[in-house]
Amino acid sequence: MIDADLIVQHQLTPSEYEKIVAILGREPSYTELGIFSVMWSEHCSYKSSRLHLKKLPTRGKLVVQGPGENAGIVDIGSGYVIAFKIESHNHPSFIEPFQGAATGVGGILRDIFTMGARPIAVLDSLRFGRLDSPSTGARNRRILGGVVAGIAHYGNCFGVPTVGGECIFEPCYDGNPLVNVFALGVCRKEDVFYAKAAGVGNPVIYVGARTGRDGIHGASMASAEFTEESKQKRPSVQVGDPFLEKLLLEACLEAMQTGAIVGIQDMGAAGLTCSTCEMGSRGGVGIEIELDRVPQRETGMTPYEIMLSESQERMLLVAERGREDEVYRVFRKWGLEAVEIGAVTGDGKLRVTEHGATVAEIPNRELADEAPLYDRPHTAPPPRLHAARRVALPAEPSVQKSLPALLAAPDLCSKRWIWQQYDYQVRTNTIAGPERADAAIVRIKETGTSLAISLDGNGRYTYLSPREGARLAVAECCRNLSTVGALPVAATNCLNFGNPERPEIMAQLVEAIEGIAEACQFFDTPITGGNVSLYNETLGEGIYPTPVLGIVGLMPTVAPVAIAFRHAGRNVVLVGGLGGCDEVRFGSSQYVKEIARDLWGLPPALDMELEKRVQAAVREIAAAGLAESAHDVSDGGLAVALAECCLGTAGIGAQVDLDSDLRPEILAFHEGPSRILVSTSQPAAVAAIALAHGVPAPVVGVTIESKLEIRQRGITLGCWDLADLQAAHAGGTDYKSK
């Protein structure tokens, strides 16, 4: 019997339940209640965010498929397209870090090859609590270690290179780590597949792993705050099998080539439920399945359990009637189970039977696309932290001491120990892997061109101003791509926020989405898909609002413009100029985080017009082959960016003199955007390009052997042996000793 308690347990509101009754014209069965509860969960239905997501620009001349499919599709020319998307696996990764992260990778990979594209790159954006916290450090280290091992386990075995990402530490992620995984695949334009059922009478075929009781209500778990009981939800986390996924990849791509497949979708969140009703809804048809035929790993599973299981490595496909054998033959070759479990019908309904008796019958469109839509209150202004507060910078700033300290700081230190656990080279397309250049670069052998990819998000910025922070994330991604000479063309986003039922959190979400929309419009990088992860709260403590952007750029296949200086005696040009910053906008910097141990004010000011010109200029500089190295100024400011340019194997440093009257520590460490350091042997040609774009590009110094020296109008602020900077940067990675 369905009573009020059961409805609450399914996280449905009374009005949502009434809507279910109205759709069905009767009370739902227990199985139907479960089906509605997962499809209408925040995770699957985007009921709090959908209204605002519509503001995002999604069209562009290269966009073949925008949001609404398993992944966005973008035309890269020469008859090829790419499929890419970013997705979160935050909640499972907190409960069970290794499997949570592993299945996060598995889920997004399936989204890519479901579209017919072979995955060729993964990047991940990670957030954890601080490792040095006396109270939670041990747990945070365990979560970090587990997440990294899980990503490595899955990606390495599957055979996709993990080519980059970011990893940031803040106390707000203590009980809510963020694990956002980006994946990208490539295929010929005519080989794209869609998750659409068609053709009444066509067989519905189940492929891959058997269904077990794992992951039941995973989607609902991801739609609630964490409480003390959450840790009891380990059974809601699935277990990944990357080898099986690899078989599924090869078999699916091969089966698609037979021409016998009509539509295909992976079983991710909400498993069999989601894949059946969404494929039916997209195709405007019905789907009928018989649960007795569903391959099962356990005995005695109820219809409710089978429909809600989130067992991994499963796919659902619709084939042409009469050509099933062509499909079965391929799956048999790869040792996979493929079973006809039902058929496409003409009545628009999802009909589920068990031993021939109907256990659920729900109209597909209402279930998949007419989930409740909420315009949640977002009237409260986002909190601005001490915007007008009197700033307390250390009285005697020391650039000399602060730079090594910043290079060793958790966010800025080398993450080599992490990415060295990832196979970042398999498929031999990695032109620039982790920490080599500002963006990861993978080539496409088939087209002779390359893709640059950047992930970025800065929770501190978005916390202080969601709109400005979101715009900065878009700008930073595009700048990273431009720095390596790529033209940004399309984006995906992962929106990690707290509880949307709190107006101040909802305000953060709305402001951030609008900020992304403005910037993506401006930089001509439409959003082709993404993911929203809400309820990132533990015991009422929310995370910083953390939108993570993933942007892809196109470029020719050439030797990469890397971060490190290569030769002594070159000019160091700061394209975009020194920029300005006041103490209010300095409050969001890494310097204030690590040296002053504080956070205040606003994020750095972004002039989007200037940013666009700087990016255009640097792309032209890169394309003309004038940049021996290039690196944008971001977290940690100019001094940190300069130091990072000095950490290459060539042992080349720099001597720079900055003509500015800013306070020394602000000059050295402010994070004003629209600035890119370029080393060149042809400063006149670089200056001419900058001038043509109306961009300041002062020569700030020269490259020298083995030292970095930073002066301000002739007065030395700091001078370091590169070996010391290297040691600081590398030494910060030893997380176990902290």
């Binding site: 390495n156 599957f158 055979g159 099998d241 080898f243 090869e250 060295q420 656990q421 498929r427």
Partner: protein
């Protein structure tokens, strides 16, 4: 020369080996599926990297039972050239075509990075185009690449000049810094580093070509 690349269901460096041979070495190359009983008309066969059957047990422990491994053994006995890279090396060891074992890395973690190898012998079809002592840069990417054998076996390898490569900066704890070994007949070699990932400048190094060019030179010498 006709090359074959064995494809186990979980091989994931098969495309890379194929590309290195077909594109960068410009030699005819074909895939050989794991349930083939015969290798056909090949001159050299490569067992590529990956996770042959998932490797949830010991790496290569299941692969040694696959039908194609009987064919590989027969091919080796008949003098065909067999190169195992990474997972391929692990499989050759499990199948008994090469001595020793590959166990968990010393640091217990998967490691992907470039290493420097020293060529220890040029007296093999896999190293004849490189002089002894030459340094080669190429990547490793493995979790279980620590070469292990008992002292007697190691002494024997050294005495018989069957150590093909040593690490200059041992990344995984391999005994006596061993990165690659030969069988007694010198026509089978296994190595943990990936020569196919270092076959053109855009990959960061072309040093891996030395291995493939050696095979080519050896093959041509046989033909002539």
């Amino acid at each position: 020369m006709r090359f074959g690349v064995i494809v186990f269901p979980g091989s994931n460096c098969d495309h890379d080996a194929y590309y290195a041979v077909g594109h960068n070495l410009a030699q005819p190359v074909q895939y050989v599926w794991h349930d083939e009983a015969s290798l056909g008309n090949l001159d050299a066969v490569i067992l590529p990297g990956g996770f042959a059957y998932g490797d949830y047990l010991r790496c290569g422990a299941i692969a040694k039972f696959s039908p194609v491994m009987n064919a590989v053994k027969k091919f080796a006995v008949e003098g065909g050239l067999v190169l195992g890279v990474c997972n391929g090396f692990q499989i050759l060891v499990e199948a008994g075509l090469l001595p020793g074992a590959l166990i968990r890395n010393r640091g217990l973690k998967f490691i992907c990075r470039e290493v420097t190898l020293r060529v220890e012998t040029s007296n093999s079809p896999f190293t004849c185009a490189a002089e002894r002592g030459r340094h080669l840069r190429m990547p490793i990417a493995h979790g279980e690449g620590c070469y292990y054998a008992d002292d007697r076996a190691l002494d024997e390898l050294e005495a018989e000049d069957r150590i093909a490569f040593r690490y200059v900066d041992n990344p995984n704890g391999s005994l006596r810094d061993i990165a690659g070994v030969l069988n007694r007949e010198r026509n089978v070699m296994g190595m943990m580093p990936h020569p196919e990932r270092a076959t053109e400048p855009l990959m960061g190094s072309s040093d891996g070509l030395a291995v493939f060019q050696s095979i080519l030179r050896a093959g041509r010498a046989v033909a002539a």
